[in-house]
């Protein structure tokens, strides 16, 4: 692709969510919005390299796509009165005030992450409609055949249309649960990028982590007072800051072995600012922090330490205890045990870890449970048991970098 073509592509990708969301509000039809946006791209690819990029490319794309949509409705109107009705119905109709900042993209993300849609469809729709990823790219990201992903997206769009899933920011009383579903989708995209669950994918997927951060920045701009939105953004920034040194030579590098000089200081500073903002808001409002804020705070403590040995483990243990009160999952308990090991020694931590499958038996198929046990057993000098635990951990993960790390650890055990 020419430089000009690449520039058009970049701007288009950047503006796609805004363009589609605006068209959906106007015409109430996802397919029409997508088709019109695609047509506008073709016009841009033709014109911009010749005429130059317009001063407000997003506005230009929205206007052009809007005109294309109207053309299409007129063309089809003799056999489809519905679109004409849609044109009348949606044209600049003011929406019910919800007391929140209204933005078309915000409406659209709530539609994409509606609880009436299957979770995997929510992720796919969000990446397609807000992120502007192609169906092929999304299929690639989640390692399913393109036809499967296309069907998944088509079915979800069909349900939105047939069941009349609204294009609206939920009312205040529904907002906390609905927002939680949106944040879960964004975090899932990030995690899939950060530690791919699949053997065939790269261990790290920069495209997905970048997309999740971009979506979360949009949410943050639209809902600046929502503490969990800030918390999630902070969490992802503080995690992303360590990405480049997290894998070396195809092998996962755990936090305490990472070269801290390689961390992205700008991202860490931004993440720390957000965590401080969350803390100040929690103190002001008396509303306790939610799980993303607490996870962000834990990551802030880690990234605050100039070296691993300077980590404030008692603060981390306290934050995990607070997190466990909000989200009492065995995975949180497992992470808390890591802090326990630093404070009270590996023996106390191991007892904690060994108790967990009693609460949730499925933990015994979770690689991190075995990996944590293996590390604690290694520190206790119980090599044979550690070796078995490393084997179980290796068998339970598909991620190549993680397998490489665990195998090396297993190999370095004392006989």
């Amino acid at each position: 692709m020419s430089d000009a073509g690449a520039a058009v592509d970049r701007i288009y990708r950047e503006e796609y969510g805004r363009v589609v969301a605006s068209l959906v509000r106007r015409f109430g039809d996802l397919d029409l919005a997508e088709d019109a946006a695609a047509e506008a791209l073709l016009v841009a690819l033709e014109r911009w390299p010749v005429d130059g990029v317009p001063p407000n490319p997003g506005g230009w794309l929205t206007t052009t796509a809007g005109n294309r949509a109207i053309d299409r409705i007129r063309r089809e109107s003799h056999r489809d009165a519905k679109h004409q009705a849609a044109l009348k119905m949606y044209d600049d109709t003011p929406h019910e005030p919800t007391g929140l900042v209204e933005d078309d993209r915000l409406r659209l993300i709530f539609t994409c992450c509606h609880p009436a849609l299957a979770p995997e469809a929510r992720v796919a729709l969000t990446l397609r409609l807000l992120g502007g990823l192609t169906v092929a790219e999304i299929a690639q990201a989640f390692l399913v055949p393109e036809t499967t992903m296309a069907q998944r997206i088509t079915r979800a769009k069909r349900k939105i249309k047939d069941a009349h899933i609204p294009f609206r920011v939920p009312a205040a009383d529904d907002l906390p649960t609905r927002l939680a579903a949106v944040l879960a989708v964004v975090y899932l995209v990030f995690n899939e990028g950060y530690l791919s669950s699949s053997a065939d994918a790269d261990p790290m997927r920069e495209d997905l982590t970048a997309e999740a951060i971009r979506l979360s920045r949009i949410l943050r701009a639209l809902l600046p007072e929502e503490p969990e939105v800030a918390g999630l953004l902070a969490l992802m920034l503080l995690t992303e800051a360590r990405r480049t040194v997290r894998v070396a030579g195809g092998e996962l590098v755990p936090l305490h072995e990472q070269d801290r000089g390689g961390w992205d200081r700008a991202l860490i500073a931004e993440g720390h600012d957000l965590v401080r903002e969350c803390l100040a808001r929690a103190l002001r409002t008396g509303q306790g922090p939610g799980q993303y804020q607490l996870l962000a705070a834990i990551n802030a403590v880690h990234t605050d330490a100039p070296e691993a040995s300077a980590t404030d483990w008692s603060q981390i243990a306290a934050l995990y205890a607070q997190l466990y009160a909000v989200a009492p999952t065995p995975i949180v308990a497992l992470n808390r045990a890591v802090a326990t090991a630093e404070l009270d020694g590996p023996e106390v931590a191991l007892a904690e870890v060994d108790r967990l499958p009693g609460i949730q038996p499925s933990l015994t198929t979770y690689h991190a449970w075995h990996a944590t046990r293996a590390d604690l057993l290694r520190r206790l000098g119980r090599s044979a048991e550690a070796r078995a635990a490393y084997d179980a951990a290796i068998a339970a993960t598909e991620n190549s970098a993680e397998r490489a790390y665990l195998s090396r650890r297993r190999g370095s055990l004392a006989p």
């Binding site: 009165a81 519905k82 009705a85 509606h114 009436a116 047939d162 069941a163 009349h164 899933i165 609204p166 609206r168 939920p170 529904d174």
Partner: protein, 122 residues
């Protein structure tokens, strides 16, 4: 406005459990459903509702072939079937889901929400 079917589905076990209930246990459910029905009417969401006789009372009629075939029982064997339903008017799925949540609480059963096809344009 769109119409939605709120179907109350139940399994054989649910039907069995209901049959074991005493009048004192059933009465509050009746009352709650009545209150819910009145609310639907007051807010203009009511279209139609009804409870159905047990699944055993079903007769299947198939007149797609040369002759009309009448058979006892439902056409497809299933583990769950519809025991009662509401048809409501709602502006969108969110509104329908809110009604379904209230209906589910009132009748003490799971509710499936299914949109009707839009009426064809004139």
């Amino acid at each position: 406005m769109s119409q939605y079917l709120l179907a109350v589905n139940g399994s054989a076990a649910d039907v069995e459990a209901q049959a074991q209930m005493t009048m004192e246990e059933i009465q509050p459910i009746f009352e709650a459903v009545n209150v819910f029905n009145e609310k639907l009417k007051a807010e203009g969401a009511w279209v139609f509702a009804g409870g159905l006789q047990p699944i055993e009372s079903t007769t299947t009629v198939d007149n797609t072939g040369a002759e009309t075939v009448i058979t006892d029982g439902p056409f497809v064997e299933s583990k769950e079937w519809i025991g009662g339903f509401w048809v409501i008017e709602a502006p969108d799925l969110d509104a329908a889901l809110k009604w379904a949540a209230e209906g589910s609480k009132a009748c003490a059963g799971r509710v499936e929400v299914r949109p009707f096809q839009d009426e064809p344009e004139a």
